[in-house]
Symmetry: C2
Subunit: 372 residues, 2 copies
């Protein structure tokens, strides 16, 4: 008897970026912030490590939701907090998308809109995995040149885009390219979608604009954010999602009762109370990003303009896959995705200035060896 | 356009026990441990609150799984760690149970075994909610008198039990009754099940026996445990599940990539290194449990024998629901479940000795008022 569902047996699990224990490694592969959380956040978390650990955390992260509501000018009913943003994305699939049933139609018939999880290619590589886990149809539609958002006319003309898809996931700014999108163009897309459209703003704190207003304007629009990257709290697993109470209420219904750990709630709430520290970090990371971009461009890389805490760079001389290996041999970890639309690129997280210098030095050395 | 799935719209969300902020409240409603984590655990967590919070935690909780493997005499491949035990239970539904599709058969036809989540009534009230969220068929089969496990003959005779159910969930010791089951009777049940059977040992540290050996003996048996209750870590969200690598591997495939927060991993690992502290707590809680049971029995309550950190008690004079309210008015919170099989009972978590004394005193006063 097969006890694991056939759907699950067929799955290929999502492979997260390597979390290496190698000493002295320069880790630029998973877009973590190079700077620690603010001293006030660390103090708040330490102060909470006491007898209260025996108690359940607040099931709805009430205090945090109240603070977030104040920040975004909405009500706690517009907000759900997740065990990281991945929890939010997985819940969105479960709440809004019907799993496919055995094909009643010919195999090449289009999937019904109610079962479609739609996203651009490239974007966050977890999306098709979440669709597969849920038994939904993953619909990947190419971005335009230089990872631009296609216009509505282009999407209609292309014929692949589904304006009635149950769930559309848009990484904005885009990952892995780092390209930012204007709120105006995102709004045009949102208005055209009939199903739920979730703007995944994981990297938005490093960008010029954000689209939070759209989540509070349109009943089909959600905006997801995370404390992981910009706010240096990957370890703690706290993300959230803002939108119409009807959609947010649907997510709450399928949420694990105590999905957000208590110390994560404490850390996130304390983070919102110390914005100046993080604003200074964003500026520092932005400056390092520009310096690293110029440095790599001077060395022959084609670097996409970035509004995130990473850059997407097309190397010269060797293939991206070879660069991945050569850098790893020299204890620098970057990310390479093997799928067709991006296999010529490396994704490099923005670390400290010293790490940027070390990377540039190592790239220069590798180039020297190739030419020597 | 309806954007939330009809299945989700129809759901009634699980209602966790009240997490009240009322000052001076005696909280005996959610089975939390009255004693804090060990000083060594608190020190280990505090020591980890530093710059590392910016980094992702280990995605598979590798260090913790290695320690657990050593504890249970198995391999890390036999273990998955969850964001609390609820995460494990939800994953088990998704990995092993096919959602029901639109009825092809008459509405009163039995659900196909591949879509059945089966459990005893009463047991953990989350199970039917998880089945409903997944779109599976929830099959509740009554326990025997005094919450005993029915024999195989009784289950066969009853005709409701499905020996081929995709997933069977057994709370052992039982909640909310507190009754313990012998490994021998659990083994008979496990051997008879063709589908996956998960023994939910949330409260097993307070019991006379545990059934971990069955998870390592039979390919269809899983045992789930948690650090929440016995190990005073509700706030941190760490549970785990042991079983055959084929089942555990299926769960890993659908797990959120970073489902267990880093400080939770640190706390759980430190807990395993300080067993004597917790063994002493278990003895203390056991002693308070016996004292409270005798005290309530003397006051006319019918108290079920308990192998957990709570007791299930049938009050006299007033209905259980009235007792809930009268105790709450006097700042003592206990739990009452409104569903038919248990509506005559109160579930009372074992607190400190002082809390037991306060409860007994308050019960005496309420009885006095009723009689006065």
């Amino acid at each position: 008897m097969k006890r694991v569902r056939p759907l699950v047996q067929k799955l290929r699990a999502y492979v997260p970026g390597e979390q290496s224990r190698i000493k002295g490694l320069i880790k630029l592969n998973t877009n973590e912030n190079p700077y620690p959380p603010s001293p006030k956040v660390l103090a708040a978390v330490k102060a909470a490590v006491d007898g209260r650990l025996r108690l359940y955390p607040n099931p709805t992260a009430q205090v945090l939701r109240e603070k977030l509501a104040k920040l975004h000018g909405c009500s706690p009913e517009n907000i759900i907090v997740g065990n990281g943003c991945d929890d939010i994305l997985a819940m969105a699939c479960r709440a809004f998308v019907e799993p496919l049933t055995a094909p009643a139609k010919p195999l090449d018939a289009p999937a019904p809109a109610r079962s479609v999880v739609q996203f651009f290619d490239p974007s966050y590589s977890l999306y098709p995995v979440l669709a597969a886990i849920h038994g939904a149809h993953a619909q990947a539609v190419p971005l335009a040149d230089d990872f631009a958002l296609p216009s509505l006319a282009e999407l209609k003309k292309g014929g692949q885009w589904d304006f009635r898809a149950a769930l559309t996931l848009v990484t904005t700014p885009n990952a892995p390219s780092g390209r930012g999108y204007s709120t105006a163009e995102l709004e045009r897309l949102c208005r055209a979608q009939k199903g739920v459209i979730l703007l995944d703003e994981t990297y938005v704190d490093f960008a010029e604009e954000n689209a939070m207003a759209l989540a509070l304007k349109y009943p089909q629009v959600l905006v997801a954010r995370t404390f992981s990257k910009a706010y240096s709290l990957c370890f703690q697993r706290v993300g959230y999602c803002v939108g119409h109470p009807e959609l947010i209420g649907g997510l709450h219904k399928i949420r694990d009762s105590y999905n957000v750990n208590g110390l994560g709630q404490v850390a996130a709430a304390a983070t919102l109370d110390d914005q100046p520290y993080y604003q200074a970090n964003f500026r520092r990371i932005g400056a390092t990003r520009e310096r690293l971009s110029h440095g790599l461009t001077a060395l022959g890389f084609r670097v996409c303009p970035s509004q995130t805490n990473f850059i997407f760079a097309k190397p010269s001389v060797l293939s991206a896959e070879r660069w991945l290996q050569k850098l790893r041999d020299r204890k620098i970890l970057v990310r390479w995705f093997g799928y067709p639309s991006v296999r010529d690129y490396l994704r490099i997280s923005i670390g400290t200035d010293a790490e940027a210098d070390a990377l540039l030095k190592t790239v220069r050395r590798i180039l020297g060896e190739c030419r020597g």
